[in-house]
């Protein structure tokens, strides 16, 4: 496993005046170059965890280390190495997209990206001289992502980066996230979109009621929580028929072989489950 960029150990945090901790017993590691998905229902502790990791909340119990140093030991130079895209857009609405990025870029002392380059990467190049007040919600979200990329971050926090985007733009943002991983960046991705999580994340963590319910690779989770069967749909004179066959010994399963030879196969699907189903199961069981 690559060296850990983020290490969280036994973290517990309670908001001032809060009756119960917002997160408790949090423990996970994120190795360099990984896209780590953080999933959970609203109010489960996703935002709190992200705020803890980016240093916006202090006074937690346990240990958080980023880039090998305790979070408390970092000064504001921590943010030279970070890129953060919040869920809600936060730009000067009266300034243009380019003016917003120019302004933020000048707050960094290290090497930065050309704002025009990142605007092009999120598909906003043609709108760079428009005031953000004229932007749609999706465009403002893309500008959030663009700003997070300005500092050439080693660690990127993305909160719902594809929310409200059309499929084409969503795909280009997903591609952009993959490109960051290719150049060695580590990504902490918070999302409700299970398709995005499944497609992008090397590992996902499910947080429920402030506790981590499970952490694993999407593929491993789907195999573990699914059935080791294959489902076959046939089209025939009496209508559609469906049969399910165990994967073990499939090559000698007479029913399966007969179905294949029938020439009436419409679809064949293995029955590993989806992340969405696991999400519902994990969060549902915890809520009940």
């Amino acid at each position: 496993m690559a060296k850990s960029v983020v290490r969280v150990d036994g973290v517990r945090f309670t908001y001032q005046g809060g009756a119960a901790p917002a997160v408790t017993d949090l423990a996970f590691e994120i190795p360099a170059g990984e896209i780590f998905g953080f999933l959970g229902p609203s109010g489960a502790g996703k935002s709190t965890t992200q705020k803890l990791l980016i240093g916006l909340l202090t006074g937690y119990e346990g240990r958080i280390a980023v880039f090998g140093r305790d979070l408390g030991e970092w000064s504001s130079d921590y943010y030279e190495r970070l890129g953060v895209s919040f869920e809600f857009p936060n730009h000067h609405l009266k300034l243009t997209a380019l003016e917003n990025l120019d302004y933020f870029r000048s707050l960094y002392t290290g090497p930065t990206e050309d704002p025009r380059t990142v605007l092009a990467q999120v598909g906003l190049e043609a709108d760079r001289d428009k005031r953000v007040a004229e932007f749609s919600k999706g465009m403002r979200g893309r500008l959030n992502v663009a700003r997070a990329l300005l500092s050439k971050p080693e660690l990127l926090f993305l909160d719902e980066p594809t929310a409200g985007l059309d499929p084409v733009t969503s795909r280009s943002i997903r591609e952009l996230i993959r490109e960051r991983r290719e150049v060695g960046a580590t990504v902490f991705l918070t999302t409700h979109d299970m398709v995005v999580a499944d497609e992008l994340c090397d590992r996902v963590a499910f947080i429920v009621d402030g506790r981590l319910a499970l952490v694993d690779a999407p593929r491993a989770l789907k195999l573990e929580h699914g059935r080791r069967t294959v489902r076959v749909e046939l089209d025939g004179p009496d209508g559609r028929s469906v049969s399910e066959h165990a994967l073990d010994g499939l090559g000698s399963d007479p029913g399966f072989l007969q179905a294949l030879r029938s020439g009436r196969v419409q679809t064949i699907h293995t029955q590993e489950t989806t992340l969405e189903e696991i999400f519902v199961r994990v969060t549902g069981s915890a809520l009940s």
Binding site: D77, H92, L107, T109
Partner: protein, 249 residues
């Protein structure tokens, strides 16, 4: 150069142009900026005209009260700067840009230093430059320096008051009336004899007014100015602490 000073200078270099653009692109703020120029003309030409009118029609001489009139000017000028900066802060809160700022290398303290020293400096310069331009109740430069210095605290105080207590720009507009009322209230103290007059000292804006009245009468004002400095610094400090907490929510 010390890192803290370097960051504060960075804040001026970065936020200064952003503030100017935001003011130029917002009718309300542009209007308030123009209002400051109108205020100078109003006091310079309007007050003498009013004095003549009152003299002719009512036989009342306003001239002995020019120190009172100018104390109102001093409070209004600094307060207007504060309201403009306060609305910029409200914009930043509404647009959530403060949250974005917290995850940049710029230390929060540098941003806050900019947000305090800018209205302080602007209010000071505006008062010390425009007071002689109004020119109806001249003061020696040393007195003017002290009075402008005390009055300039109304800039950050008004700005932080708006940013701390207004939910948004609509309630901000309503609170501007509160700022005007509280800022003008100490004028009444002019007509109240000591020691009751000192009760007005709870309002920070009283102290530059009192210093002006004493200076115009040729009396010593240093003790009061010192107390005023303490009161004004305490109020701005308290508001700053509150704003800092809101910013980090």
């Amino acid at each position: 150069m010390d890192a803290t000073i370097r960051w504060v200078l960075t804040a001026y270099r970065v936020f200064g142009p952003v503030d100017i653009k935001n003011i130029r692109r917002e009718r309300l703020l542009l209007g308030l900026t123009v209002l400051m120029a109108v205020l100078v003309l109003l006091y310079r030409y309007g007050v003498p005209a009013l004095t003549t009118a009152l003299q002719v029609r009512l036989g009342f001489d306003l001239l002995p009260y020019y120190d009172l009139v100018m104390s109102m000017y001093v409070g209004t000028a600094a307060g207007t700067v504060g309201v403009v900066v306060g609305f910029l802060l409200l914009d930043e809160r509404d647009d959530r840009t403060l949250t974005a700022l917290l995850v940049t290398p710029l230390p929060v303290g540098s941003y806050l230093a900019y947000r305090i020293t800018l209205p302080l400096a602007l209010s000071f310069v505006l008062t010390i430059v425009t007071y002689p331009l109004v020119g109806i109740a001249p003061l020696p430069i040393v007195d003017l320096l002290v009075i402008s210095g005390l009055a300039s605290f109304a800039g950050p105080a008004a700005a932080l008051f708006l940013a701390t207590f207004a939910e948004n720009k609509i309630t901000g507009l309503a609170l501007t009336k509160v700022i005007n009322a509280v800022g003008s209230l100490p004028v009444l103290a002019y007509f109240v004899p000591a020691p009751w007059q000192w009760l007005a000292g709870l309002v920070p804006g009283y102290w530059p007014m009192k210093a002006l009245w004493l200076a115009a009468a040729g009396e010593a004002y240093w003790g009061g100015a010192l107390v005023g400095l303490v009161v004004n610094v305490a109020v701005v400090w308290w508001l700053l602490r509150r704003f800092d907490a809101i910013m980090r929510r």
